[in-house]
Amino acid sequence: MKFLNKSLLEVRNDIVSKKIKAVDVVQESLSRINTLDKELNSFVALNDKALEQAEAVDKKIQAGENQGPLAGIPIAVKDMFCTKDLRTTACSNILKNFVPPYSATVVKRLEAAGAIIVGKTNCDEFAMGSSNENSAFGVVKNPWDRARVAGGSSGGSASAVAARLAFGSMGTDTGGSIRQPASLCGIYGIKPTYGRVSRYGIIAYASSLDQAGPFAGSTKEASEILKVIAGYDEKDSTSSAEAVPDWTQNISTDMSKMTIGIPKEYFGDDLNPEIKKIAMNAIEILKSKGAKTKEISLPHTKFAIPVYYLVATSEASSNLARYDGVRYGVRIPSSDINDMYAKTRGQGFGTEVKKRIMLGTFALSSGYYDAYYKKASQVRHIILKDFAKVFSEVDAIVCPVTTSTAFKIGEKIKDTISMYYNDIFTTSVNLAGLPGMSVPGGLASNGLPVGVQIIAPHFKEQTIFNISQTLEDNIEKKVPHGI
């Protein structure tokens, strides 16, 4: 590698100062994809205009035009983001031929910043899953061990960055789908505050939980990409007008005024000792840099999974009603429209998607709404209040991301509910709309990466980046073999 083993900040500056050419950087990305991705299966589509777009960047630089913060940088984008004129499928058969005539706001902002979208990455179908085993395009292999999952739902985005096929990638996180794959693949992944990043053009799974966020190889690369995509979007009614700070510039590793909360429910007796060790190590590092710690309680943690599944699937059951074979996507013909709907959706959707649609439909249905959807929304509010109370005493929470290192492909797929409980450390964060990041914490004894989670109050991503940088400076960086 000449370029992809460096930070995108450095490479971008070299491109802009004409030391190197964007075309060459993008070419390296494409070559690496060509070599490594046949096995990893991170990508489901490539942008055949990538080199052309890189050339255009080089030309603009020659002409002395101003360049965006991601000029010439190859970025991958999860196939949940609509990309104009480039096939977008949500990794589902039902959309396998869909070519959007519009791009997601996030994609437009990346392009305006000069980034080159090299391709669309693999994911669990409609972002529903924690292992990328639910994709219509096959499983994504973890670059650390090809027999293991890369995590989900943003498995492809995580794997692409871990294998250095791109500098950064976009994922979405509804119950942990950025943080968990980041942890299993040993990279940085942040889910911002709900409302921070526009959801326009992102295929919706659960509207009040979905957020887009970047994967990157370091804190500053993550904060730089987030800065590009964050900010008010008039096309998204749930977009916040909160100002976007210059996070990268403002990163401070002064932990002397930081109080870290350690949630006792996240460090129970059944916590995997390796996971615990790595999380405690991170906390010790922060203490050694001057941070105070405090044991806190998030008493409703154990309800987070069922609450999440009720709320998310209810919203999803409605969000996915539009996939009916009428205006786009696949259609199974019939002489009656209701039969056409049922066959198209029955055959076009995968098993996990159908299960979730069924659960959500049930939770909203007449006679069950109060007991299920409404009740879940009330307990959600209680979970939110638990965090608010905790954040009146601490600045951030540090805890595990996952219950284990990457598991073997096929190991958990049969036991759906056990798979759901993988997300126990991440889903509360989505329910409360808080920002959360996974930071590489080191390797377990099996040589596989383990992430550490940092959670902060609404809109306090700076706190997260500060802690992330402190850990980054004090934990040895590891890369997968052969990358």
Partner: protein
């Protein structure tokens, strides 16, 4: 048949399409018509990843309409998803308002046969319209131009007790919507839709009977006819010992009957829940005050003012104020000519008749307010006789020429010169010696004959009062 033993209970659900430039949740054009799928964008087509954003103007229109209907405008209301599958519903759900609508608890006073009655309005809420599908045997075609056009659904209390009351209420709502400029109230084109909930019960019974919902009614006349038919149908069913089925029925105007909608056998479970893509609609006191202060004079207020300001009878005032354009026209005429009674007569008889016959709206009247005012002035100045004026008006309507032009060019000026009239009378007396003698010997009835002859000789232009005076004098002998 014991129809008179029963009373009917009627409620109306009116859907009013707002005259905004763009749709309620999408920035594509809300204009009526257009080429196939021309007024669309990704949002109103329900494409993947698209999101709704509320149109400011739709909020303003909803507040204005709510205030005009005497509703309480809610400071916080919530959008909910109504989930069902249909090809003209691109998202598989309609964004509507369910348990927290934007307006509540209003009323409208309507006049039925000279009596005022207050009809309660339960609520009014914002929602989006669906696209349109046309059916062609073994396939259907779908157009999304209408998808997401803003609608205000106005739900009345079941306060109406006759088809006539229902039609009157619907007319009053339409009038208000047009005055506000928020909806053009066109039942035929569907910019205003009226669904009627009808039930019957024995007179004196407190409980409500089972109701049916009538749809596909596209004129005020049909509102009355459809409801009348349904009332009688329901009574027939009950009298025959059967029960009313709660269902939706379509009105067929060619047969004047209502039919059950077979395809609706399964009750819909709409699974309403608050739309997570939208935040609750927050309306400030300031916005409500602004809307209140910008409300135009409403039909009922205007009718009241016509009575006090112009001395018009209640009946005339109500007719003139149904359509804002008509009321504006009237006041323009009065401003120019100062004769309210005359203006109102001309408008209500001649002008309305001719507009109806030529299927024109008052906005397209060939006789402008200024022109009509001039005609009234000519009559008041005696330049033209009242009778002649009718002919002048017809010519004005046909040619678009002004009254004075026509009077001048066709020599229709009234003859007010006593000498000239005298000459005509002399001629008539000379030409009719027998009648003259008879009149002079006491046959008073023949006066009318002389008037007729003189009028004929003067081509109707003789001023009637003057003619009478001169005739009387000259016939004295």
């Amino acid at each position: 048949m014991a129809y008179s033993d029963y009373e009917s209970v009627i409620g109306l659900e009116i859907h009013a399409q707002f005259l905004t430039d763009t749709k309620i949740f999408s920035s594509s054009s809300a204009k009526f018509g257009g080429g196939d799928n021309e007024h669309v964008d990704a949002v109103c087509m329900g494409m993947p990843g698209t999101l709704p954003v509320l149109n400011k103007k739709a909020i303003e229109f909803a507040i204005k309409t709510g205030l005009a209907l005497n509703c309480e405008v809610k400071k916080k209301s919530v959008f909910s998803r109504k989930n069902y599958f249909y090809p003209d519903l691109p998202k598989g759900y309609q964004i509507s308002q369910y348990d927290q609508p934007v307006c509540e608890k209003g009323f409208l006073d309507v006049t039925i046969n000279g009596q005022k009655k207050r009809i309660g309005i339960t609520r009014a809420h914002l929602e989006e319209d669906a696209g349109k599908s046309t059916h062609h045997g073994d396939y259907s075609l779908v157009n999304y131009n209408r998808s997401s056009v803003p609608l205000l659904e106005i739900v009345s209390e079941p306060d109406m007790r006759s088809p006539q009351e229902a039609a009157e209420y619907a007319r009053a709502v339409r009038s208000i919507l047009r005055y506000l400029g928020v909806c053009d109230g066109n039942l035929e084109e569907g910019s205003m839709r009226c669904d009627c909930n009808v039930s019957v019960r024995k007179k004196g019974e407190k409980k409500f009977g089972t109701r049916t919902e009538l749809k596909n009614i596209n004129s005020f006349r049909f509102i009355e006819k459809a409801i009348q038919y349904e009332i009688e149908r329901q009574i027939d069913v009950i009298e025959s010992g059967q029960e009313i089925v709660q269902e939706t029925r379509l009105y067929d105007s060619t047969k004047n009957k209502t039919f059950s909608m077979r395809s609706k056998e399964e009750a819909h479970d709409y699974r309403y829940f608050p739309d997570p893509d939208l935040l609750p609609l927050i309306i400030s006191d300031k916005e409500i005050d602004l809307a209140k202060s910008s409300l135009p004079e409403l039909p009922q207020q205007r009718a009241q003012r016509f009575q006090t300001q112009y001395g018009l009878p209640e009946y005339d005032s109500e007719i003139l104020t149904v359509e804002k354009e008509m009321a504006d026209y009237f006041e323009s005429v009065v401003k120019e000519c100062g004769n309210a009674k005359s203006a109102s007569n001309w408008i209500m008889t001649e002008l309305l008749r001719e507009l109806n016959n030529s299927k024109k709206e008052i906005a397209d009247s060939p006789v402008s307010a200024k022109m009509l005012a001039e005609l009234v002035q000519l009559i008041d100045k005696n330049t033209v006789s009242g009778k002649m004026a009718k002919a002048v008006f017809m010519e004005m309507f046909k040619s678009g020429k002004t009254a004075s032009e026509i009077v001048k060019s066709q020599g229709m000026s009234q003859i007010t010169d006593e000498n000239e009239i005298g000459k005509i009378v002399d001629q008539v007396i000379q030409a009719n010696p027998t009648q003259t003698t008879e009149y002079r010997s006491g046959k008073d009835k023949l006066f009318g004959f002389f008037v007729g002859q003189a009028m004929k000789a003067s081509k109707g232009q003789a001023n009637p009062e003057l003619l009478n005076k001169v005739l009387k004098e000259k016939l004295k002998g």
